[in-house]
Structures are given as C-alpha cells and as structure tokens.
Symmetry: C2
Subunit: 336 residues, 2 copies
C-alpha cells in the first residue's frame, strides 16, 4: 500500500468545475473498519448538489463519492468474515440504526462528511461491505449502491409492488428510475414510463417498459392514462405538477412513492387523496435490510444500466453529464 | 307495522332549511334485507353537504341519514342469525366489497342515494346490521357508526397507532376527531389536540387529552410542538395550511392520516416528505372488518361523546348546529 493516492476533492463550492484531483494520504482503517482499493465508483445527483453548495452542512475539503467497488486491502478488528483480497461493493448508508422504518438521526452517507469513493482507497465500516455479485464487472457493481438502494426501498419496501401490478415511473433516465424499471420488470409488473426525451423512452422500451409517454408532447398524460387500466403504484422524484397529476392517475387504494422533489413543492387536492384512500409515501436511501435484499437481485442474471464509463481524472466531465441530465442509467468512474 | 311513517327528506338543495318532514311509506325489506324501527339517528357533515348541493350525483327526493340504531321488525331471506325485536346498530357502508384496502366502485353510503335513517323505519342489508353494544343507550349507539368507522380506520387500520405513541389530533370537536381522541386514549397513546375554541379544548382535556393547543392564539403550533417530543401520528381532516404544518411537526418515519379537506388543497414541501420517510395516508369511511373491530371497543366500558339530542322533527336545528361547527361530539336525533 502506497502512503499516497489520487482523490477527487472539493475545497470550495461552485459546481463540478471546483473539484480538484489531489494527492492525499491513503486512509487507515479505524476499529471495525476495512480499507478498500477502489476499482470503480459511480456518480449520484447528491455529488453534483454538494459541489453546487445545495446541501446542508457541507464540510470541506472532502473526497466525494457514495458508490464504489473494489478489493479489501486492510482490516482492523472484527472483520465479519471478510478477508483481504475479497471483491466487494459498499453500502453507502452509514449508521442507519435499528429501526427499519427510518434512519437514525446520527446516520450519514459516505462521501460527505466522511471521505468517499472518488479515490483510489476508502476506509469504511466492515458492516457496510458486501461481496460483489460474481457475474458483475467492477464498473457494474459500482453502479448499483445508492441508486439501487433508493429504488429497491421505493418500489418494494415502501411501494409494496406485487407481480401483475402496474407501476408508473415518472421521468425515466436518471439512475434511480432506471433501477425502478429494472426491478419492476424483474418482479413481473407492468411498467409505464414517462420522459421528455424520445431517445430515453426508446432505451426504456429496450429494457422492458410496456408503455412510454413523452410528457412534453402529451402534457395531459394523466388523462391519457385513464384508458390504460388501473395504475397501482407511481414512483416519482419530481414533486410539483407531476405529483398533482399522479394523484389523479393512481387507482383507488393505490400508492405514490416520492424520493425527490426536483420540480419543487406540490399542491395536492385533498378530495382524491382521502376519497381514493391513496398513500403518498416518502423515502430516501434505505436500510441495511433493503441493501442486502437489493443486492441479492443481482446475484442472478440482472445487470445495472451503465450509461458511460469515465476515468477518475475525468470526474468533472462525468459530473457535467449528470448535471445536464444527459445520461440514461449510471455514470461510472474507472479507477486505475 | 303502520304503512306510513315520518321521514326527513330532501326535495331540493339549498341548505338544511330545505329539508321537509314528510309522511311516506314504510319500506319493505328486499331479498337479504331487514327493516329496522329506528329509535335514534345521528348527523354527519355529509348530510349537511348534501342539503347544500356539495356532493356529486345527488338523487332527490331522498331520506337523509347514515347512522341509526333501533330494533329489527321485519326480515326477508337469509337473516344471518338475526331475529325480530333484536336491538341493532347499522353499518352505513353499503357494498364495500372484498378488498380491505379500498371500497368497491359500486359501493355507497346509506342516506343517499339509498333512503337513510332520518325516519321511523329503514330497510338495509342484513349484513350491515350488528348487535347493539348492551351498555349503550339507543342514542349512544346511533352516535357511533360513520364517525366511529372513519376514526377507527384512520387511527388503526391506516395510522397503525401503537401503545405509547403520540398522536396529534388537529381540530378536535367534530364527530370523527372526538372518536379519534377516545380511541387513542383507549389504546394507551398520548394525545395532543388543537382547536380554535378553549371550551372544546377543555372538553378534550376531560376526555383525556394530554396536551391542548389553541391554534388561533398559537398559530405556529408546529414550532411549539418541537419541545413536546416526537409526534408519531397526525390525524387531520383540514388539509391546506394544517397539512403543511403537520409535515413539519411529524417525526421522521411518522404518519399523517387525512380523511377530509375542509381547508382546501395543501401545498406540501417535498424535502421533509421524502427525507423524513413520512407517509401521508388518505382514508374515508371503512371496511366491514373495520366496523366490526370498532364496535367491539364499545362492548367494554367505552362510550361515545353525545353533544346534544334533538327530536326528529327538529332535524333542521340539529343540522344547523353541525353546519356552524358548534358541537363537541355527535349530534343525535331521537326518533319516537
């Protein structure tokens, strides 16, 4: 292990351009921790938001990055059966706590305040390390953690999607919604997806989407959906107008799971909410139980959707792709 | 059985004053139905809304009234073990269907379109008739059905209230919220109630409320509640500003159950919804399972809160009391 490594670090906010590739010290494992030699990492909107200063309590300098895969190179204390050299993937949720229904108030995500995965090495608790699914490459494994966790909890733990049900996925293309589509089809559900991009809708069809709607050309999509059978579940990260329409579109007794709010606050009508017995269910990230169950799905032949692979030194260009919402699936960094 | 009876009927909308006390025919029991000689009925906001024309598809003339208690005087077909002379209370939810999570689209409430309980006799399906809890008077039994059903489903079936939890009851005084308070205390929960009336707050304290807040004098009650420990569940029928504040007040992982929207549409912030994993759960009325479980609570020493008893011929004055929101608990009609 060399004492120094490359890491993508934020010293001041101002967008992805503010990131620097630093030479910094390889971390030491604390008690109950492991050090991982990272081979790949993946990007989340959270990383972009942090560079833009759109996150509370930003600590700097910090190595960004929640998602990573690599090999264990050092252990300290209870290794939970892990061995040096083992290929692993990291659960980025640190200290979720004992209540499966919500995080502990002291929990946090890897990659701020704790130094993250956009580096050659990272130290994490041994409890956050899981064996890499054998069929996946390092790039594929690194694409999974935070988005896969958020999607799994949204669709199953919160949304309770069942075989044969219909799920509406609003604004497909981002990392989480692409996993929602993958998981929905894997679970034997019917998937309806919306996007403003015909190209993304074509990609979604190739992944198994049963019906696609361009919300730019069909702005009253909630009316269009009335002839498409009952919508059992909506998974949304937009809020605003989209959530208002989702409440119209969902069937009586249906569920709307919300894990973001990029379109801002939502004005919702009370009558369809209470009259139709609709459940609006907030979610973000997920519990260790969610992570373990989610990763199991990838031990058969399921594969995440990798949009593009950049090298670690091109992290700024990779982030820009995410900031522009150009991607379909996950943007990955290869770490040499 | 006389062929004619008195009934409070609506021939045209225009508020409670439009009601008439008619002489009309005693109903005959259809197949699988019973005829009940009513001894008491109780009022719901639904009845007022119907007189005001604020309800879809109003059929007239119609005998209003969802809630009633009395004795069985006639049976037709499968009597489900019921006998003439038996003292009963009526579940007003007609044709809920087989899905406990939501009503069937063909379901309806007794008292429009089907003639209801503001009359000396009513015909209802035998399946909607339950033995009156022995300790209750006819007036008390008639106070329970729709409000008790709505409250039970809100707090338990949807809200999953557990012993030791804290529930916030916004705007206590109406029929449903008074049952929510009763049930919450019966279940061993801590109850915080709000109202604009100090008199109603005093009544709530007498019923066991642990903390009361006048939202007129403490308009930022959601901030005041921060020092009162975590709020696990909010039960609300206001919507609007109240729902927005409830989202601030509820703990991470908490639930907000909504069964009405008297304050209009709500603009809700996305961040606390998804970040705190909050569940906003719509509900209205309840299933046969809810009704049976709710009624069981009254077979011990629990008693509903009767605000005032009017005679059937004073139905207009009784409705006016409800329309003015002057009541605390249920407004009942005695039927001679």
């Amino acid at each position: 292990m060399t004492p120094e490594m490359s890491a993508v670090r934020l010293h001041e906010t101002g967008g992805p351009q503010s990131l620097r590739i630093d030479r910094t010290l390889v971390p030491e494992p604390g008690e109950g921790e492991v050090v991982v030699r990272l081979r790949a990492a993946s990007l989340n909107h959270r990383d972009v938001f942090i560079t833009q200063g759109l996150y509370p309590n930003i600590r700097m300098p910090v190595t960004l990055g929640s998602d990573g895969a690599g090999e264990i190179v050092a252990l300290n204390g209870d290794s939970l059966g892990l061995r040096t050299g083992e290929e692993i993937v990291i659960d980025p949720m640190l200290g979720w706590g004992n209540d499966p229904s919500v995080w502990d108030s002291k929990s946090s995500l890897l990659g701020m305040p704790r130094d993250g995965t956009f580096a050659q090495y990272v130290a994490v608790p041994a409890a956050n390390v899981y064996r890499k699914p054998e069929l996946l490459s390092m790039e594929e494994a690194a694409a999974i953690p935070l988005a896969g966790l958020t999607a799994y909890r949204a669709i199953f733990t919160r949304g309770a999607l069942a075989r044969g049900e219909t799920v509406l996925i609003t604004g497909v293309g981002g990392g989480v919604q692409t996993f929602v589509l993958l998981f929905a089809k894997h679970a034997g559900a019917r998937a309806i997806v919306t996007s403003s991009s015909d190209e993304k809708l074509e990609r979604a069809t190739a992944l198994g989407a049963d019906l696609t709607i361009n919300y730019k050309t069909v702005p009253d999509w909630e009316k269009r959906l009335r002839s498409e059978g009952p919508i059992d579940l909506v998974v949304d990260s937009s809020g605003g107008e989209t959530l208002r329409k989702a409440l119209d579109a969902v069937r009586p007794g249906g569920r709307i799971v919300v894990y973001g709010g990029t379109n801002g606050d939502a004005t919702i009508k009370m009558f369809p909410l209470f009259w139709k017995h609709v459940s609006i269910l907030g979610t973000s990230m997920g519990s260790p139980q969610d992570f373990a169950a989610m990763l199991e799905l990838f031990r058969s032949n399921l594969r995440p959707v990798v949009d593009r692979v950049f090298s670690l030194r091109d992290a700024v260009a990779a982030m820009q792709r995410l900031a522009n919402a150009d991607q379909f699936g996950k943007v990955v960094l290869r770490i040499d």
